[in-house]
Subunit: 996 residues, 2 copies
């Protein structure tokens, strides 16, 4: 049963092209492309992927006619190079490489130096003008063939090689002299004879055939299969096999080898950037025989070659429309390009290159937008470590640990572990890195004064991550290898840091270093280039980009970065300042009682209006009673006082933000946080109360004993001696027992009382699952006075600005809605408050009432909800949390990191929107709302608003805007443009988990 | 602009019927219906609802021709009664009542005794044979007219009435004698003159017209409007006005009035049940003038009337096909039926009546099924308080508080507040009620030994509620008015209970009584009747009914109640027994480390297989190292030991359950609970550790001082006296300081150490939001050995039974799935374990692998999930929790109760499925799964499986089964039948919240 491949099995390089990746593999297609456009690649040919599949279909047999084709093409190579395969005098040497249609780095096999045999090695030596490299090529061929084709453990060759080096007193392979190499070749042949029972063939054609089969076989080696399963790559693609003439850079002073970038990959500067080593092969560069020269040295040494290199680099750049990373060899004055690919580059280089390539006409502006990874552009705005300094730190072993890069930028500073101490250290002129297990709203003052934050717990949406992103400070979270010891040190990888030590952190990569690492701030020209690019993006995108901002400073920063509105102003963040926290705590302590008393009065007032005439008198009486109780209630009085205090603060807050935004829309979310977020930690309080109680009790006990003892001694001391002994004992005791001073005890008792009150409140407010708890509009319904206060503050601030002649556009957002009735109850009530406030001030400002869609039920019933709201904003953090049932506070460290590592989940859904689940809810809600009103305004204000793939998804959904933290606004602007241009995919592969 | 009502404006009773409710109102239609079928109702007529709407359309003007129609129909009444309206000698007296198409109790107005005037009161007195009731009727007319028609505050009449009674020394209205009544009539007229400026008309026609208008107007009084808004009732229905001749039961010894039921509403026994008061009006019965006679007394007193009553009762029962609650009056030997309606009845009466009515041929079996409220039938299985005993307890003021009835049944017992003490009290022969703020898995041993549970926190799905329902014990939860005081008492409504006091609780109504209340268990005949009814239900329903059962006892109980399978066997509940808890705690302490070491070995094994030949040796070495570390690890050894221990327990558990179910399906859910549920409370532990630390430290300090002191005294005591004084002082101190014995300290330290270990573990495992945390299959993925152990236990148990020749049907359910990849990872792995176990035992049992749908994302991506599962079961508790973002543990007390009270939510979604939100997800998931496979099996196993409306929804969705707690199985059987017959609606009204 014989079959042949239906089409052509072998292509000369010049016959192929970049569009033939599936047939010729990536490597084959791109070599063909270069050949096609006239770039000097070494001559060669490609056996198609289809042929390898046929090989497997035939039970690992070369299809009929293939070998003849290979032989024919080798003869073509002979003609092209003027050398002959197996010729003793002028031998052709080739490489045999695998190359699949998708990149599978290191998974499949390659054999070099094919064509070197006992018969030809002499001719090769003559050709090279040196015996050593020729023998070494032969040695490498035998070793590679033994490993890849014959499956002999590499270790067996390595052991012999090491022994040879030891005998020769050589440190590096290249130091072995011809005699030693000759011996080694003999020994290697012996290994093969021993392992296979046969001598290594001396016929290069036999070896070539075996090498082609080995390359085919490597498609289905277990490593490759496992890799494809992990990556969800089809097993049906097969691999191509590329056979190319080898060129040699080590044939004398007119030869050499090098690597270059068509532009500087660090800065983006135009001009060749790279290295060159004369009279050397690529592996010699790796081995570090000699220090390479800068590529510019060729300009004077070999002006013609340099001109060719420069021209070819420009040609490749123009052709591939991107900066290129090029490997080349010069063999006896002739230039060969071995490989070219788009170069990796830093974020700011990427921006500069894209802008300049567009300026040069290589790219259109739209293409230029696609050349920059949107997620990276925020890094351009931040300080970053000098690449060399970071590399040095790693080399010096100063990498302490790696966590999750949660907010980009680089920072160094002294470690402070207590947020209360940050200010003092900072004021003493030191830069501070706050290091904590995790942060809470209580710690914000410390975060603000620090230069960077490192936490051992939490993920991309943890408190530390969200707050630092808002502030534009570098932050690394979830660094779980960092262990906090009882003695105040934190340790990882056998190193430890304490307060006062200097560390450096990279908020983009999550790396933590011991000691200082040099960092640089972005230069003005870098920012200018970014602005150019983002300007192009603005011209292309449909989606608006707003920002999340809680303060006037945030608002200014957001506008500076191009935000067109504020999509989320979190009012609770305004309560965390210490003075305000005191007010809100008192408010929460008395609020429930006060609100109930107030509600009772209004219920009775309403009932009285509707009561039958006969019941009015009795009801009026009850109303009077309720009013009296309300008026005399300390809780109610305190409640009103605290509300008035907070209203004063909030009015100022909103005034400042409105002013900063100059009439751009500002979406203000009414109080959302679970109430106990405003309170200290329960466990800590329990501990403190216990401690204080026992200090007071214990000290009192000792005190009582001592007094009684003194008394006894005094009364019994009829003799001096007695007195003396008694006294001495008492002194001894007194000295050792620290008696609490009267004032101490008073202070202790006061502290205890305060803690006990706090504990009672926390115990009352705490919930088993606060994220699913009493928060958002649920508080608005149970204590309506809080939302009313906030609406009054918003409208008052708006009116004040309007009076000053400034434009204001306020949008009031009600959070955690799960049922339309919540809005039906709240909206008219808050509208009435707003109207009353406007009337009282005599100024008319407009505002919208909308709702967050962050509870799955709100999305599922969006048709109803939309009829009671004027806009939607997806709270995608919470929506993701509820849809997955993943706690934002815990999931990452408990299991989510494990999920992402083992590819149970393609990516962390708190970073990138889960389009299939959460996205489906968003789609349902969007469609339902647009059914109610085709122009219904919808945005998103979760962390996803700054993630490129998520932004693209929102663009596809047809949302009006995304709202990101101020520092992610540039990311969103670029991503929105890329999505409009179809440059970002949001599809999820049907990916498999790793089945370990 | 005049318009007339398009159709007929006035209907004589006999012209109408029960099908004309929207036109004649409920009261009018049912009176008409009775008239139509020949029941002796007083003559009368009805003005249509449409007429009242026209009245409003014309700006509160009677439509043209209406008054003429009314007058004509009054004349018809005159003919029918032989009396004349306004006739001084033989006056016709009528009532004028409102009557809307839907019941709006007490919201609208009625005027009685219309037709009594100065001119006619004498004739009425003659007709009544007594002046007093005639004058009293006149007094009432004036008072009612003044209040309802003229809007004069009732209080003005009441004040005068009270003064008159005081003057006359009368306690009750009816004690006022004619003279006094005459005076009162004069004074009442004076009030009207004063309030309106005009005297009360003496023309009964004028008064009648005003009364009709007042009835119409009452449709739009503020009370009624507000009520309709609250209830979501349309404002466009209007009210009918019913004018009926009044009949008098107080015209002598051949008159009287009574109330009866056509069957005993307490027991369901056939035969009249009621009371009769000779020579009295209805209001006299209410006033309690005389003790009424049992209705049976009439059998001998007035045999013909009794026969008529009995016959009419049967006629009404047959006609309405239900037991009737009938008001009647006998006027001079003639029977009038004033009102009939379906009677309220106890659950067991409802069952008996339905079964017997079907037996009598009044109802078909299908109709009989519709006559019983499905939700109530589980109460038939439980003891319940004797109605009279409960009424007496309330009268005696023994009602302590009211909470949420969470598990039906009645129980009395002594209060025990510590679950650890329950056993001792119970073993001493006392019945126990466990009273706690809330319960946790730690308390289960106490719940099991108690007779009932009362908690001050939590709702229908709280721990206490779920566990007691499973056990069939009465339980009241969320009784927030009960406050726990520091001195160990619990107080409510000014009463307090302490440990040792007797209380009684009604788990159906949520009432708590101080002291004993007599209760009775269901009688065999009650159970037999229930079984008859449920047998009919089984013949009708399509939906299967399974049960949630965790033990063989549960399984037996479930089958006894008719369960056809186990839909949820919660394996974690099996771990809560004390001995097992120890094992699982140790498992959790060492599991993560052990599991990681084990995983490392298998990863390396896998890597080795796939490694290129060259890397094998190095890898083999690393594998050996990892194996050695694993083998020598105490954690791994302990982990295997604990797993083996637990596997032994679990195998026994499953064996017992499989055996009890005799081949019926058993769905076993693998471990689901958040891990820290197996651990003590964090706050308590912190407190205990602090306490112990300071006890040890404090005692040591004292100890040290005393020793040093003794030493000092001894060394210095050169004289006897010195010694004596020193000694006396030391004795004094020693006496007052309780020195810890050496053993005490050792014990304390051991305790401290244990607590500290526990605290460390809890601190490590606790989560901010455990419901969204590390639970279910997330544990199965991070510590796969636990699920593997459970699968081994299931398969081993199944094999053992199979070996004994018993049938087994096991279904293994994976909880908390949010992404299909979780199943893709777990299923093959667990399948392999199952196969290996079967192979090792050499027995082949089949099993299914399915998943719970309880995370919104699983429902949203059910198409993917279904392709990796063999069945679905909706975990509707969690699904509701996540979809609403309502924490099951907290929501009710924090805000959900408030939501239900203020009708923000139509009902508690944890009790009854929210069809619009959660139900939509269920529908999406069901449709997606059935798309994959039209026969894909789907059930529900949340608490909703025992709720009638939810069962009906599941039936409509086309689920295969509902699974309820064993005691709710009868509820589900009946509800499934009712749904199949279209007797339960699942529609949600588009209801408004109360806008207070």
């Amino acid at each position: 049963m014989t079959a042949t491949v239906s089409g052509k099995m072998v292509y000369r390089l010049a016959e192929g092209g970049a569009d033939m990746v599936s047939l010729l593999g990536g490597k084959g297609a791109h070599a063909s492309e270069m050949a096609r456009i006239g770039v000097p690649v070494p001559p060669g040919f490609v056996i198609t992927t289809e042929t390898s599949l046929e090989y497997f279909r035939q039970g690992r047999r070369l299809p009929d006619g293939l070998w003849e084709e290979i032989v024919r093409h080798v003869h073509v190579l002979e003609e092209q190079t003027g050398r002959r395969f197996g010729d003793a005098g002028n031998p052709l040497v080739v490489s045999v490489r695998s190359g699949a249609p998708v990149s599978m780095p290191g998974m499949m096999d390659t054999i070099l130096n094919m064509g070197v045999t006992d018969a030809t090695v002499g001719g090769l030596a003559k050709m090279m003008g040196d015996e050593r490299p020729a023998l070494d090529a032969f040695r490498r061929l035998i070793q590679g063939f033994g490993d890849v084709v014959l499956g002999i453990p590499k270790a067996r060759f390595e052991t012999v090689l090491e022994a040879a080096k030891e005998r020769a007193g050589a440190e590096f392979d290249y130091e072995l002299q011809p005699d030693a190499l000759q011996d080694l070749i003999g020994e290697f042949k012996g290994i093969i004879q021993e392992a296979t029972g046969e001598p290594l063939s001396d016929d290069p054609w036999v070896l070539l055939k075996a090498a082609v089969e080995a390359v085919f076989n490597s498609w289905n080696n277990p490593r490759a299969i496992t890799y494809r399963e992990f990556q969800g790559i089809s097993h049906d693609m097969g691999t191509a096999c590329i056979i190319m003439a080898m060129v040699f850079g080590n044939l004398g002073d007119d030869s050499g080898t090098g690597v270059l970038f068509s532009r500087n990959p660090g800065s983006g500067e135009r001009g060749l950037y790279g290295e060159f080593l004369p009279n050397a092969q690529g592996e010699d560069v790796v081995a570090g025989i000699r220090t390479p020269q800068r590529i510019q040295a060729l300009r004077t040494a070999w002006p013609e070659i340099y001109r060719q290199i420069d021209e070819t680099a420009r040609q490749l750049e123009s052709h591939y429309k991107d900066v290129q990373d090029i490997e080349f060899t010069v063999e006896r004055g002739k230039l060969y390009i071995l490989q070219t690919r788009s170069a990796k580059r830093t974020a700011s280089a990427a921006v500069r290159i894209a802008v300049e390539l567009a300026g040069e006409g290589v790219l259109t502006q739209e293409q230029a937008l696609g050349r920059v990874e949107a997620g990276e552009v925020s890094a351009v705005l931040m300080p970053h470590f000098v690449a060399e300094a970071k590399a040095a730190a790693i080399k010096e072993g100063r990498l302490l640990a790696e966590g999750v890069g949660a907010s980009p930028g680089a920072a160094s500073g002294v470690v402070v572990m207590d947020p209360d101490r940050v200010a003092a250290v900072a004021e003493a002129g030191q830069r501070v890195i706050l290091v904590r297990q995790e942060t809470s709203p209580d710690d914000v003052h410390g975060i603000i004064k620090s230069n960077g934050v490192l936490t051992s717990r939490g993920g991309m949406t943890s408190h530390a991550a969200v707050v630092t992103r808002g502030l534009g400070k570098p932050c690394v979270v979830g660094c779980e290898e960092l262990r906090f010891e009882a003695d105040g040190r934190a340790t990882a990888r056998g190193k430890s840091i304490s307060e006062g030590d200097v560390i450096s952190l990279d908020g983009a990569t999550g790396e933590i270093f011991v000691g200082d690492v040099a960092a640089v701030a972005p230069r003005p020209d870098e920012l200018a280039e970014l602005n150019t690019l983002l300007g192009w993006a603005d011209g292309v995108r449909r989606l608006q980009v707003w920002a999340n901002a809680d303060t006037p400073e945030d608002a200014h920063r957001a506008r500076a970065n191009g935000a067109e509105g504020i999509g989320l102003c979190r009012t609770e963040h305004m309560f965390f300042a210490e003075e305000r926290l005191r007010h809100i705590r008192r408010l929460l302590a008395i609020g429930p009682e006060a609100s109930q008393l107030i509600r009772r009065v209004s219920e009775l007032e309403e009932a009285l209006e509707n009561a039958p005439a006969s019941e009015r008198e009795a009801m009026r009486h009850r109303l009077e009673e309720a009013k009296a109780r309300c008026d005399s209630s300390e809780a109610v009085q305190g409640f009103h006082t605290e509300l008035a205090e907070l209203e004063r603060f909030q009015t100022e807050d909103f005034y400042g933000i409105f002013k900063a935004m100059e009439g751009l829309p500002v979406v203000i979310r009414l109080l959302d946080a679970p109430l106990h977020e405003f309170l200290p930690d329960y466990g800590e309080l329990v501990q403190e109360v216990g401690e204080l109680t026992r200090r007071i009790e214990g000290d009192n006990r000792v005190d009582a004993w001592l007094n009684k003892g003194r008394d006894l001694v005094n009364r019994s001391a009829s003799e001096l001696e007695k007195l003396a002994v008694g006294k001495r004992m008492m002194d001894w005791l007194s000295e050792r027992v620290s008696l609490p001073q009267q004032e101490d005890e008073v202070a202790l008792r006061a502290e205890l009382e305060e803690k006990e009150r706090a504990l009672e409140l926390v115990a009352h407010l705490r919930e088993s699952n606060p994220m699913l708890g009493h928060r958002g509009c649920r508080v608005g319904l149970t204590m309506p006075e809080i939302y009313e206060m906030q609406v009054r503050a918003i409208v008052t601030a708006g009116c004040r600005l309007a009076e000053e002649g400034s434009p204001v556009r306020a949008e009031i957002m009600i959070p955690i809605v799960s049922h339309v009735n919540e809005l039906k109850w709240l909206r008219p009530r808050l509208r009435a408050v707003a109207s009353k406030t406007r009337e009282a001030l005599g100024i008319y400002v407009t505002y919208l009432f909308g709702t967050m869609i962050e509870v799955p039920r709100a999305a599922l019933t969006a048709d109803e909800v939309a009829s009671e709201a004027e806009f939607f904003s997806f709270g995608s953090n919470d929506l993701t949390q509820m849809t997955f049932a993943f706690s934002r506070d815990d999931a990452e460290s408990k299991f989510l990191n494990h999920y992402v590592e083992t590819e149970i989940l393609p990516r962390n859904p708190f970073n990138t929107l889960d389009t299939r689940g959460v996205g489906r809810l968003m789609r349902m809600a969007t469609e339902a709302a647009r059914e109610v009103d085709p122009d219904f305004p919808i945005g998103i204000c979760g962390e996803h608003g700054g993630d490129p793939r998520s932004v693209a998804f929102c663009n596809q959904l047809g949302l009006n805007y995304v709202s990101a933290s101020p520092f992610r606004v540039p990311v969103a602007r670029l991503a929105a443009a890329q999505s409009a241009l179809g440059q970002i995919t949001t599809e999820e592969g049907s990916q498999q988990p790793r089945l370990l």
